[in-house]
């Protein structure tokens, strides 16, 4: 059952990066949208992610619950040493989630709209950054349980080149995922080109910040590059991700948006897979100590109960989630956009 629980943890983390990430990405690319286009692209984002907005964020909750029930030592030491970046990530989640809904449900389209939009856009950067930053810290060995002073214990671990580089990389990934997703959601050609160009730019940025990760790992004398490349399975995953890049470019250029979505998801999954595979069973690498999933696991009775709860839960969740995504993809809102507008109180704008 331990491995069932671990599989759920990895999958929940991956899905949060993919779906939650695309969600944050929508806010990120809004910053790079010209003012003239903003209004339209806001409506589009709302339509495209509104119905599944909540579900996308559930993956984070599931990951957290798995951590504190199944691997309490990991949950509690991360909560202690990464208190500050975790709080900042939370701030981003709160600000963004509420701003996203408030701006649509405020029937008065006045000055506050500007505030909502500002909060929405900037907080969309905060969460992915700290998500990446935390992930970077967790695998970097920078957490120091023997630290004596406040900065050493609570600031230096996450304020390093490497964690910051991972944070930037995560921002780019999220923006990229969103752009690729939105190409297929746009309802006219002009918009499609807009999102396509963004996807291309963000892909280039992703590759660049990816390079930055390796550079910073080199500067900080981490063995990351060697370790990933010396493991055959991880190496294969990374090679597959790289080989699929040109195909992805082709797909994006020619508006094969379904293929582009699948490939973008595939690449992100491969990168994460390479990392998890290389680290397994380690999960947190600290200075002088390693927390592995196997050693920190809760007693078997707990894992059994958790595993059964997760399996039983999936039987209910997955079909319902699939049907939700399927029906809102199929019933594209083109014919009756005005209905959505009205529910959102949008009619005041006209």
């Amino acid at each position: 059952m331990l491995y069932v629980v671990i599989a759920f943890l990895y999958i929940a983390l991956l899905f949060y990066l993919l779906f939650g990430g695309a969600d944050f990405g929508a806010g990120i690319i809004e910053l790079f949208t010209s003012d003239a286009k903003k209004e339209k692209s806001r409506l589009l984002t709302y339509r495209a992610i509104g119905p599944i907005w909540e579900a996308n964020h559930m993956w984070l909750i599931i990951s957290i619950v798995i951590l504190f029930v199944g691997f309490p030592a990991i949950y509690s030491s991360l909560s202690i040493y990464l208190h500050i970046p975790l709080s900042l990530m939370l701030l981003g989640i709160i600000a963004r989630g509420t701003a996203f809904i408030f701006r649509h449900y405020d029937p008065v389209k006045g000055k506050l709209q500007k505030v909502y939009n500002l909060i929405y856009v900037y907080s969309s950067f905060v969460t992915p950054f700290f998500l990446g930053n935390i992930a970077g810290t967790v695998i970097s060995g920078r957490i120091n349980p023997a630290a004596k002073s406040f900065p050493e214990a609570y600031l230096f671990p996450w304020l390093g080149y490497f964690p910051i580089a991972v944070g930037l990389f995560t921002i780019c990934i999220c923006g990229f995922l969103a752009a690729v997703y939105l190409i297929g959601e746009a309802d006219d050609y002009v918009d499609r080109i807009l999102f396509r160009n963004k996807a291309i730019w963000l892909n280039i940025l992703t590759v660049l910040t990816g390079g930055l990760i390796f550079l910073s790992a080199y500067v900080e004398e981490m063995e990351l590059l060697n370790e990933l490349l010396s493991n055959n399975v991880s190496l294969t995953a990374l090679v597959l991700a790289s080989i699929s890049l040109p195909i992805l470019w082709y797909a994006i250029r020619n508006f094969h948006y379904k293929m582009a979505r699948v490939l973008a998801g595939f690449q992100v999954s491969m990168i994460l897979f390479a990392l998890f595979y290389r680290l397994f069973p380690a999960f947190v690498i600290m200075n002088g100590a390693v927390l592995t999933l196997e050693e920190t696991a809760a007693p078997l009775s707990t894992l059994n109960a958790l595993g059964i709860a997760l399996l039983a839960g999936s039987i209910f969740i997955l079909p319902a989630l699939y049907y939700l995504i399927y029906s809102f993809q199929k019933k594209r809102f083109d014919q009756d956009t005005d209905i959505v507008n009205m529910v959102g109180g949008e009619e005041r704008r006209k």
Binding site: G50, P51, W53, E54, A55, H57, M58, L60, I61, I62, I64, V65, I66, F68, V69, G70, P72, A73, S76, L78, S79, I80, H83, L86, S87, L90, I93, I94, G97, T98, F100, I101, Y105, D106, P107, V108, F150, A153, A298, P299, S301, T302, A305, L306, A309, L310, A312, G313, F316, I317, A320, L321, L324, S327, K331, I339, M342, V343, G345, E347
Partner: protein, 441 residues
């Protein structure tokens, strides 16, 4: 303020904030579903308008509830990592099941809010009902976790270690049933009276009368029934607390000295230093009867517990009085309303009655907050009753005071914005006739 007090205050603030949204998230969908049902049956336009208006409110409350809940699942670790290290694997079962309930709720709300005109009307209606059912399920489940902190079971505690963990036994702890029953009713009372109060106010303003009249009827009828059941369930809770946490009962009742034929103390201000209660009404034998069903039974007082294991009396007692006071007022109003409905008395639309309802708007929520203060402060100094002290659970990270102020700022701003939005939505309702989403015929 030291870090320990700051952490406790931050936890109290976050939970106190979350519970408001949780209550509304659990109950509003049912009100909505009733109004939706009436629309689908009668095709009467004001029901449709009401359903849409309510669903906008639900959307606003839902996200606020969801983000504050997300914060909570982190805060448990950020503030109490030592507690979670031990408690996580034991009381995790309800949380893992709750994960499923949340997920289904998130899916159902996606269908409901965005599904107007896109699905078969009854499927759409059904997804609305599911939002309520899954919300209620998650509320009931999370109370099991809290019940475990009050009545820890499902493990053996040997030399400071938690052995032989049985998550199912931990979930079905002694406190769960009474707490979950009382909490579920409380959510109906609080939401029912709050919604009724708002619509009573709007009804007095005279616009959109049929809509507000229906809204009032739906919300208050459910709220009134729950308000009548609430003291009964509260009595069951009190008897249960008398068994399982005598120190909490003693603090609730400001009962300092162990005695038989113990008096029930109503109101009054406990003087913690001299261990007496000033300005109180005392009913001889009342407490013995309420706690054990016998006027002569002995009720354990705080003197039976070491000084450092006594909960704060002043706060717990006042909070308990506030809860019961609110409960009595709401129960009487509920009886009045049901009587008026039954006998078709005109007073249910008289100005005085509507004014009364408008004034009662916040009362249910005040009772909910007070009730949680009784439960949580009354458990002090324990975080896991009898096993682990709250202070032992605290994070070693210094500077929680700053985090407390930051969270206070966040919650205050969210309160401000949500209130503003709600007022604007309500004003919008009374303005010109807006076109509404509909179903294709």
């Amino acid at each position: 303020m030291d870090d320990f007090i700051a952490a406790r205050s931050q936890m109290a603030l976050s939970l106190g904030f979350h519970i408001i949204f949780a209550c509304i998230g659990m109950i509003m969908p049912f009100f909505m579903a009733i109004s939706h049902y009436l629309y689908l049956k009668k095709r009467n336009d004001h029901y449709r308008k009401l359903t849409v208006a309510w669903s906008k409110g639900v959307a606003i409350f839902f996200v606020t509830g969801a983000v504050s809940g997300t914060m909570l699942s982190f805060e448990l670790g950020l503030l109490w990592p030592e507690f979670m290290l031990h408690a996580g694997p034991i009381f995790g079962m309800p949380f893992s099941l709750e994960g499923t309930a949340f997920f289904l709720e998130a899916i159902a709300i996606g269908f409901f809010l965005y599904g107007w005109g896109k699905f078969h009307p009854w499927f759409h209606w059904y997804t609305g009902v599911m939002v309520g059912v899954t919300g209620l399920a998650s509320g009931i489940l999370v109370v099991a976790a809290n019940g475990w902190m009050n009545a820890p079971t499902g493990f053996d505690y040997v030399d400071g270690e938690f052995l032989n963990i049985d998550p199912m036994a931990a979930m079905f702890n002694d406190a769960w049933f009474t707490q979950a029953l009382h909490m579920t009713l409380a959510a109906f009372v609080a939401t029912g009276f709050a919604v009724a109060g708002i619509h009573a106010f709007l009804l007095m303003r005279g616009k959109n009368k049929p809509l507000h009249r229906s809204a009032l009827k739906i919300a208050l009828s459910l709220g009134a029934v729950a308000a009548i059941l609430q003291p009964i369930s509260g009595d069951i809770s009190a008897k249960d607390v008398a068994q399982r946490q005598p120190a909490k009962l003693a603090a609730m009742e400001a009962h300092y000295h162990t005695e038989s034929n113990a008096p029930l103390i109503i109101g009054g201000i406990p003087d913690e230093k001299n261990k007496i209660v000033n300005y109180a009404i005392k009913i001889p034998g009342g407490l013995s009867f309420l706690a054990h069903g016998d006027f002569n039974a002995e009720v354990i007082g705080l003197d039976q517990f070491p000084e450092d294991e006594q909960p704060p009396v002043l706060i717990t007692h006042l909070a308990f009085q506030i809860m019961v006071g609110c409960g009595m007022i709401l129960m009487l109003t509920g009886i009045l309303w049901l009587f008026g409905q039954w006998r078709k008395k005109p007073f249910v639309e008289a100005k005085w009655f509507l004014t009364l309802l408008a004034f009662l708007t916040p009362l249910g929520f005040i009772a909910v907050e007070a009730g949680w203060v009784v439960t949580e402060v009354g458990r002090q100094p324990w975080i896991i009753y009898g096993i682990m002290k709250t202070r032992e659970g605290l994070t070693p990270m210094p500077g929680i005071v700053y985090s407390f102020w930051l969270y206070t700022f966040i919650y205050l701003s969210l309160c401000g914005i949500v209130s503003l939005l709600l007022i604007r939505q309500i004003q919008d309702l009374d303005k010109k006739e807006t076109p509404l989403p509909t179903y294709p015929r």
